[in-house]
Symmetry: D4
Subunit: 253 residues, 8 copies
Amino acid sequence: MIETEISRAITAEYNRKLTEHLENDVVIVGAGPAGLTAGYYLSKAGYKTALLERKLSTGGGIWGGAAGYNVVVTQDKDIPDEFGMTSKKHKGLYIFDSIEFAAALAFKAKKAGLEIFNLTEAEDVIIKTDSIEGVVVNHSTITIAKLHVDPFCISAKYVIDATGHPAEVVKMLLKRKPKLFPKGIQESFMDVVTAEAGVVDKTGEIFPGLYVAGMSVCAVFGLPRMGPIFGGMLKSGKKVAGQIDGKLRSSNS
Amino acid sequence: MIETEISRAITAEYNRKLTEHLENDVVIVGAGPAGLTAGYYLSKAGYKTALLERKLSTGGGIWGGAAGYNVVVTQDKDIPDEFGMTSKKHKGLYIFDSIEFAAALAFKAKKAGLEIFNLTEAEDVIIKTDSIEGVVVNHSTITIAKLHVDPFCISAKYVIDATGHPAEVVKMLLKRKPKLFPKGIQESFMDVVTAEAGVVDKTGEIFPGLYVAGMSVCAVFGLPRMGPIFGGMLKSGKKVAGQIDGKLRSSNS
Amino acid sequence: MIETEISRAITAEYNRKLTEHLENDVVIVGAGPAGLTAGYYLSKAGYKTALLERKLSTGGGIWGGAAGYNVVVTQDKDIPDEFGMTSKKHKGLYIFDSIEFAAALAFKAKKAGLEIFNLTEAEDVIIKTDSIEGVVVNHSTITIAKLHVDPFCISAKYVIDATGHPAEVVKMLLKRKPKLFPKGIQESFMDVVTAEAGVVDKTGEIFPGLYVAGMSVCAVFGLPRMGPIFGGMLKSGKKVAGQIDGKLRSSNS
Amino acid sequence: MIETEISRAITAEYNRKLTEHLENDVVIVGAGPAGLTAGYYLSKAGYKTALLERKLSTGGGIWGGAAGYNVVVTQDKDIPDEFGMTSKKHKGLYIFDSIEFAAALAFKAKKAGLEIFNLTEAEDVIIKTDSIEGVVVNHSTITIAKLHVDPFCISAKYVIDATGHPAEVVKMLLKRKPKLFPKGIQESFMDVVTAEAGVVDKTGEIFPGLYVAGMSVCAVFGLPRMGPIFGGMLKSGKKVAGQIDGKLRSSNS
Amino acid sequence: MIETEISRAITAEYNRKLTEHLENDVVIVGAGPAGLTAGYYLSKAGYKTALLERKLSTGGGIWGGAAGYNVVVTQDKDIPDEFGMTSKKHKGLYIFDSIEFAAALAFKAKKAGLEIFNLTEAEDVIIKTDSIEGVVVNHSTITIAKLHVDPFCISAKYVIDATGHPAEVVKMLLKRKPKLFPKGIQESFMDVVTAEAGVVDKTGEIFPGLYVAGMSVCAVFGLPRMGPIFGGMLKSGKKVAGQIDGKLRSSNS
Amino acid sequence: MIETEISRAITAEYNRKLTEHLENDVVIVGAGPAGLTAGYYLSKAGYKTALLERKLSTGGGIWGGAAGYNVVVTQDKDIPDEFGMTSKKHKGLYIFDSIEFAAALAFKAKKAGLEIFNLTEAEDVIIKTDSIEGVVVNHSTITIAKLHVDPFCISAKYVIDATGHPAEVVKMLLKRKPKLFPKGIQESFMDVVTAEAGVVDKTGEIFPGLYVAGMSVCAVFGLPRMGPIFGGMLKSGKKVAGQIDGKLRSSNS
Amino acid sequence: MIETEISRAITAEYNRKLTEHLENDVVIVGAGPAGLTAGYYLSKAGYKTALLERKLSTGGGIWGGAAGYNVVVTQDKDIPDEFGMTSKKHKGLYIFDSIEFAAALAFKAKKAGLEIFNLTEAEDVIIKTDSIEGVVVNHSTITIAKLHVDPFCISAKYVIDATGHPAEVVKMLLKRKPKLFPKGIQESFMDVVTAEAGVVDKTGEIFPGLYVAGMSVCAVFGLPRMGPIFGGMLKSGKKVAGQIDGKLRSSNS
Amino acid sequence: MIETEISRAITAEYNRKLTEHLENDVVIVGAGPAGLTAGYYLSKAGYKTALLERKLSTGGGIWGGAAGYNVVVTQDKDIPDEFGMTSKKHKGLYIFDSIEFAAALAFKAKKAGLEIFNLTEAEDVIIKTDSIEGVVVNHSTITIAKLHVDPFCISAKYVIDATGHPAEVVKMLLKRKPKLFPKGIQESFMDVVTAEAGVVDKTGEIFPGLYVAGMSVCAVFGLPRMGPIFGGMLKSGKKVAGQIDGKLRSSNS
């Protein structure tokens, strides 16, 4: 029966993807602009990379633009150009349709080979001897249904917290190692110029094996928040990919 | 202050899009596979087309594949190839990553010029003398917040109900003109082969100015339902674009 | 890392079970007393049988006994004896601890080889030429999360509706074929004696390929409802297993 | 079509208002009695003033009077007279219909030129070099719908926290600068006489660019709470308008 | 203690209003544009009129304009001028700030002497011998709290259903006297021109003692719906006031 | 340990009450004014009577008086006098504190020997040969928790539906025997005089073994509804007790 | 019309009660066993006493006995005898039907003259110069409906916190005067003997004008909790009445 | 009538079980793998043991395997063999069907004589002189329904906290005796090897009379968490049974 054949094709392919990514070079948590950009560059560089996203759709906070006005802004357009996004110039800013922006990120990241697991969330990290070795995951529908069901585990040489404002992976560390973050985790008042520069500047490793990219950088370092301007997110995603690429190259050589 | 400049850029661009699309050649309701495909071909053909989508993200039921196994299937790959989707062959079927599939549809439709209004829903149609002349719309956040706030209106020469299983635009007709659909609106039992053929075959105009495409075709004509197989959706979307193209050409000539 | 090895062992085993049961001799919907008993006898007879249960745990309405007093009752003890349940005699009735009763059914059915898919629900049936050929399924957490995600399909030579009072599989038929059940589907007033006899007597095939067992028999035939007395449920489950066994034997011979 | 013409008139006018008020002399947060009174006097004095209100309707806690008995009280009637409200005398108190009271404030403030953005909430403030420069805003329906959507920004020379008991704008400061409010923010026990005098007395600037008026004064300074007596609210609103008027005059001269 | 003196002033005044309006010339249900306008003209003419409104604030659907763009439209400005509303002309339409529009209606109706009971809902009508003699009311907070508490009653010579789209008072009739409305109660497709004229034309008595005004006219007579255009609402409210004035004059003379 | 001794005393006493009332002369459903009055007179006459009440507290709609004004009214005071209630005279009416009224009914009914099972609801009736023989009951907390747990049964020679407006026991009949109530079940418009007389007049047996008393009489016979006037309820409760007393006497003699 | 006459009788009587009790000798918060007993003895002694209860019904935690087994226990029966409650002896304990127990307390307290305001809650206390002078109250339906509506005030020479486990009135003090309760407010582990003695022993004034009685005594003094044994509650209620009686006598003499 | 006879059989049997277990040798809280294993061994050794479980079904987190893949894993199979569970070997691990695993634990524990009270929760412990003497319990449906109803008490010589991650019984101690757990209660990062060994090693008495077993051991001692691997749970349950057996033997001798 063709209906079961279709089911077989789908479950087999999903099982292949899941099994293949029980072990990874890099696991990215969060499919917003920073996560997808990092995933694009890491996959393009040939690393086995899995991106976990709690929701059905990728794109995070991009889709709604500002307050539902579906337009987003950047100050540069190098990375948008690489993703094939249509831009308009407006007094030193570049403006984009937010739906095209979100779709382009996912489309190009997938074409570069990134494996994205949607409806899947990181609920903890694996640390045995003071270095992150993987992520504890569950399907987010289990969480939504408030069921008492155990998670499973996937390994990673490096983990990127690209969960945005809440910096969720960092908070898993913070819960058991509060001394690592004596001032807590919180963004400062909005200031686009400082934030756009700072988020890229501070992107990097904050604990052995754990990198932050995008808005979680602002949360961890107390940098200002910004609004619907996404250039820093893309640059942070590209930078973290480069940093991990360097680490993996040196460890492989 | 750059923050207000960004806000100005965004609200001005959104206002331009909204104002421009108060009048349209075609309004499509629903950003699932049929709606996005129709929007792609109509925009490519140069028609002023607006697509209304209630949710933040486009893609409808594609993202989750089957039961959350994020893979979808088609029987042909001509349209997927046009959208640049990566396919694998599996015993006469083509399989796709559901995330890439959803992203490709939105990305290419946007590049073709389609204007998509997300967080926007059709709450009624405009009929003055027995032909649809437009759509009554509201922001879906108003509805979610259960606020008592009036809608606004956008005009269209043709409206496509691409809302899937619920056939929401058709139901607005049904509510006041139940005799048009004496058997009601409901899909039949699952049968992929019959459904894939029938959904394309029956795509078309069901009331002056109102076309159905995708799963709403099955609902209106009592055709079988299908599962995570999307070839018929794409073909139905392409077909309805062609039908309306023919109408608009003849009325313009 | 042992954590990923454990994850690999689990996902591989689940995938094996799921793949194996995309095609079945029998699919039972509902893991209450009738469904588990039917599953026990069918598996013991060597048929490839899958049981779908929406909840995490099996046992249906058994666990709570009557109004939370965790005791259940039967009038005979032949089948309970086969399942190894401890009984006490009370004036012509046999009484059991409801927790032991529920656990025994699941334990023995599993030992007999029944494959049970919990957190999995039937959302429709597959009918192509007026005979049920399979079931359309989804993970129930998708439904709880109110996500728009397509189902998948599993085939079956025979389907048993053991969903109890709501007769859910029968209602999927009723929705499109209301003439099959001109009086609708509803149990009558409580009457233990009539119900215990009737539920066994009327157990059987009600549409090509679809059998009813347990309380869904009462709903379909308008028999009286009963309370926390489970003998008829077990007998109905055993009877339907015998009926299908007969059909499968004759079609195989 | 007249329907789209109406839509065009509305969206164009709203866009004009929104664009005009991306930059402001004063932004008031909260359309209760203090906020509306401040807005009335500032607008009358010719300042470009925007008032943000989360709900659909203005008036805050006025409408329900006391426990739903729709009557409110003041000790003086100078400001009520200016707003055209009907009063009755009762043993040294003036009593008003709460609905008329709420409507009069909004009506006269609008006639004076105040721009009110309802369904719009302040979610943060903009501080770059230790002085408030504007407000981060979003549509409150986005928040109600729990959507992940970025805000936009509007600038202001001065911001007034007229959010009442919760002192919401002050709390945005408090979150990152807890040392500014070493005792926290909380009103004291009810005491009408002390509160009515104190709320006016303490109205003023509490951080460069940020003024408090109305009940948020009580919260910030630990003054007593009061009940359905609104004279102090009106006087506080008038006083803060005068204070900012003085500042703006001196900076303009 | 001044606190109890304030409480005494408020509860005494509310009790006076409530007691006075246990008997009325006219009871209006719903404080939207039609109800407030009717209330204004009836009170101005000297009739003892009570308006019941379920919510805290009056104004119904006016506040949010269209989809939250807080602007409303009329085709004439005679009644708005009488209410002192600020209008702008736009191609044959008059546009108003929705907040000023809502506030003006309530303010002027109150000044004219209308008694408004907010947080109060009509849950039934009193009919003894085929003519409406009053309204059964309860506080809407009782309903929201889902408490089982009896209502009380107020009498009226005439009742106006100004509840808008749902035509709630008419539905109380419909429930027990379905033959009065053989086609049911439902508006037709949007058509501003037809609706604006029809809603005024059909305003009137539909059952002895029961008048409809505003959108409930459209619901009862199956007229088209309209959007954020409010001229017809105001005219309908004025017309119904005139009709009842005529009746009361003739019965008094 | 005294704590377990207390637990033993409580559970033993409850078990005694429950066991004793598995068989009854009369079961009353609903502890409002009619049910408690009926229970008082039946218990006083020496019949074994159980009253089932879904909520924790008895008293039904009495506690809140009218719209939360905690006062109730009767036209006579004979029965209130028997219950020891304090009354005041007001123009031909007697007024009572609603709390005293509710407490007196429960207190005196208990003193007369009525057994009340609170948190217990009737979910069905037992009918074997066209006469009610008992009630199917469950603890209402099971229902609130939405658990799938079977009920238990208690027998009764006569059952009284004293569930008020919803006439819940009658509706269990109606569901399976709609022809018994061709016009459905619904009260008419409010009319105190007609209702007070009618509710007493029509109190009686409506199906072999099933009596209606109180507001369920109005629902079944389409009589007018009334408000916070409770004289008819008390008289109806007394009358139904007398009717059943007559039946039981004649069957016992 | 009799319906409005009934409404007039009810609202007038309620207004009389409310007005009369804007000033009180004693205000009791909470209508559980301690509050009702205190109210009974204070009213019997002739003091003007108001009892505020958030719910519709009085009785607090009595109705459900233990875990829904509707039986309660005391060690003495002097006070129960005074209230006319039926007791049974069980090994040194007295057992009561919980429904009769709850009803008797309310009935006798009302007969003694206590004024009970149900659906009314204390939301704060009035303290001007370090002594409680009254209570800030609101209707609890306002709170349930989450409406922003101001409270009103009633005065009292003495206030009794009889709110049970949460000690709600004490917590209003604690919020602004945490130093009064350096160890916080929390009961200790269950121990019936110690608790029954301690709750009576510690009943008394804990702040000028504020008394605690019943379980709030345990919370304030960290005494053990107890279960469904109510003798201490009754004695505590009687004791606090005596203490305040002493104070009022001395201040009056 | 057989229906009441069945009800009598059930309530009598439940009352017997409840009464018998008001006093116990051991009370176990939580019917997950550790609790059921401990209950099995203690019952087999002849101790009077009651297990309290809040939910309807036993098995805790076992049913769902990992993320809904219904398979669980152990490293040894001695205890599974004793329970009759079917295992498969996979690279040094044993894998089991999670449904069979859950059912086997409950079935064998019941056969060994364990009394399980489902829908029953521990809400506190009884401590009089610094040693646990029993447990305060309530039916969990009371809690779900948010009713204010007192609990009852059962005694125990020893109590086992087998509530898993939340360590609920320990937290009752922690609330009043925070100094016992100066570092709080929280598991560490996942590490299967360390956790599996540690959970068994640390199983034991942590306060006079209170033992921890299973995941609550990890929470109390800050051991790593683990995933769907259950060998340590079973061993911990067996160990705690042995420890208490030793204590009870020595105290009995």
